[in-house]
């Protein structure tokens, strides 16, 4: 999202009498209600789910494998490890390509060329393509390469990596764009080549912004179930993943499966798993906000 212009300061200082007419107050109340509704919804979701899952915040939830036979002690062990493997692989795939693409588009691409404009247009479109489609793409790529099993970490990571690639590119471009021209010109004037300028001046200055955007992108990927469902991630996994070619399950898939089960114990387990997943998402978002507030430079 583009940097917001702080505009209405002029307005907020001028508290005039006719702002407190009945219609105006009603309007303001309606606006307030819109925001309050969103916050109330968020709180209801967290509280009711936590209450639903209260019975299952035990060690078995973390240490046990998922089980159809013993719903009381079914656990997230395989899903937690699978998600960890999946996220690391996704990050390794998507971050280098995303940053390289963003740097090219922002620093070197000639925007009057049609193919560079095509890349722009394409990025905007890719960012809004449904996530299920990325699962289908990953399956298609795998069929092309000739890997037999699709429900492995590598394929899942390809799907999620391609899914978050546009987000990483867009946020990295914004971070790079925010670095003032003077820094580039100073570097160039001292004899650095454009690439040296990018590598030693622009990128280091943009790191907080890039890190923030990348972490937020990963926090989206961690909760994505749809592409993994298409890829054919296993329903019940009773072993730890051993490598990127290993079959696996992931947190959102485990939650989806438990929610689809009819027995009540699985709903409780799903609610508990949701709280764990929300904790992970919150942690990542908190980290991103921390980095943004602590390290982001304003010029």
């Amino acid at each position: 999202m583009a940097a917001t212009v702080v505009a209405p300061q002029v307005l907020s200082t001028s508290k005039r009498g006719h702002d407190s007419s009945a219609g105006s107050l009603l309007f303001l109340a309606a606006l307030w209600l819109s925001l309050a509704m969103a916050i109330v919804f968020l709180m209801t979701l967290v509280v009711t789910t936590a209450v639903d899952g209260a019975g299952r915040f035990d060690s078995a939830l973390i240490t046990e494998y998922g089980s159809k036979l013993t719903p009381d002690t079914t656990g997230l062990r395989a899903a937690l490890l699978g998600t960890l493997w999946l996220m690391v692989t996704t990050a390794l795939l998507a971050i280098p390509i995303g940053i390289a693409a963003a740097v090219y588009l922002e620093e070197f691409a000639d925007n009057t060329r049609w193919y560079n404009r095509l890349v722009e247009l394409n990025l905007q479109n890719l960012a809004a393509i449904p996530s299920v489609i990325y699962g289908m793409l990953a399956v298609g790529i795998v069929a092309l390469v000739g890997i037999q099993r699709t429900g492995i970490i590598l394929v899942g990571a390809v799907a999620l990596g391609l899914l978050i690639l546009p987000v990483i590119i867009i946020t990295t471009r914004e971070a790079v764009r925010a670095v003032p021209r003077e820094i580039r010109e100073g570097s160039l004037a001292l004899g650095a080549t454009p690439l040296q300028t990018t590598w030693r001046q622009v990128l280091p200055s943009a790191i907080p912004g890039i890190a923030t955007g990348t972490i937020i992108a990963l926090s989206r990927a961690i909760g994505e179930a749809a592409p993994l469902l298409i890829v054919g991630v296993a329903v019940t996994v009773r072993f730890d993943p051993t490598g990127i070619m290993s079959a696996f399950t992931a947190m959102p898939i485990q939650i989806f499966n438990w929610t689809s089960e009819s027995r009540e114990e699985f709903k409780v387990a799903a609610a508990a798993a949701i709280i764990v997943l929300l904790g992970m998402v919150l942690l990542l978002n908190g980290l991103a906000i921390f980095i943004r507030n602590k390290f982001q430079r304003r010029w």
């Binding site: 979701l45 650095a192 609610a271």
Partner: protein
């Protein structure tokens, strides 16, 4: 602000000499540039890959099922004996859930955007925007669980007394709408914040109050950006999978009654992909035909949104 010392130390070891910039291209740098360029074009390859991955199996599907039957047929029964592949019920399901979602998302999203852009002090905005972002960050499978466990049994049945099925388009649509609120709020706020202050000051100087300024000056000035935000919200709603897979149901249904369960395009994909699909089988090809239809629909919607965004850039 910066002292000169670090800059000198950075370039000190290189001794670039007095040559001109244009002439100092090195072979190593050419390779790096090429890699950067390749990375940028990966995104184009992704789009091409999507089209190829979808069109191949879909073509196989259309060899067995005429395109007109698929697009205009009113019965979707891919799994039972007299199989019929009319996708209209799936499209209708998507339409109904998205419609409910937009009825929730547009007023609340715009309300939140107007407050954040025109009324909130910078400090309030700094607190509220992350909360909205958090709402956008909640995994959709969690929203689906919430629709199934709270919205349907508690909110709709117990509190509001609406007779709904165990899975229904109404609950799915409501939750879908809440999920879309941050998208609409955030993009609309950007559009309204981009309206020049001179317009607001002019309006206030003429004696309008803040509500009139917001509704009659800022809102119309930002309308194409707001429209783009709404269109993008629609695209999100059409493509959302896990909420509808869990909460909207799995029976294809042409009825306009949102209290009934209905299967959407994405819902069908999610429900079918969960099982075993052998590559090249009819069910596998059907999956990709529906995927292609979904891709085409969202592509058109996205293009409308992009064109709308371009229009605001031209004005200011």
């Amino acid at each position: 602000m910066t002292t000169t010392a670090p800059i000198i130390s950075v370039t000190g070891g290189d001794d670039p000499g007095p040559t001109s910039l244009a002439g100092s291209r090195r072979p190593g740098e050419m390779v790096v540039m090429l890699l950067l360029r390749v990375a940028a074009f990966v995104s184009v390859a992704v789009t091409v890959g999507i089209v190829i991955a979808l069109v191949g199996p879909a073509l196989n599907f259309f060899q067995q099922v005429p395109v007109s039957d698929f697009l205009f047929g009113t019965t979707w029964r891919p799994n039972f004996a007299p199989t019929e592949y009319g996708a209209l019920p799936l499209v209708a399901g998507t339409l109904m859930t998205t419609l409910v979602g937009m009825i929730v998302a547009i007023p609340f999203g715009l309300g939140a955007a107007m407050y954040l852009s025109e009324y909130a002090s910078p400090r309030v905005r700094r607190v509220l925007k992350p909360v909205l972002e958090l709402l956008a960050g909640i995994p959709s499978v969690v929203y689906g669980f919430f629709a199934l466990q709270f919205i349907t049994p508690t909110l709709l049945r117990a509190w509001l007394g609406v007779e709904v099925g165990f899975t229904n388009a109404l609950a799915a649509g409501i939750v879908l709408g809440v999920m879309i609120i941050p998208t609409i709020a955030s993009l609309s706020e950007d559009a309204m914040s981009a309206v020049p202050d001179a317009l607001r000051q002019g309006s206030l100087a003429m004696g309008a109050n803040r509500m009139q300024t917001t509704l009659r000056v800022v809102f119309p000035a930002a309308i194409s950006g707001i429209a783009a935000a709404i269109v993008l919200g629609i695209s999100r709603g059409v493509g959302e999978t896990m909420i509808v897979a869990l909460a909207a149901g799995s029976q294809p249904n042409l009825s306009p009654d949102v209290r009934e369960g209905m299967q959407t395009m994405t819902g069908y994909i999610a429900n079918t992909a969960g099982g075993e699909n052998i590559v090249g089988s009819v069910s596998y090809n059907t999956l990709f035909a529906v995927g292609l239809l979904l891709f085409m629909i969202t592509l058109v919607i996205n293009m409308i949104s992009i064109v709308l965004v371009r229009r605001i850039r031209e004005v200011y």
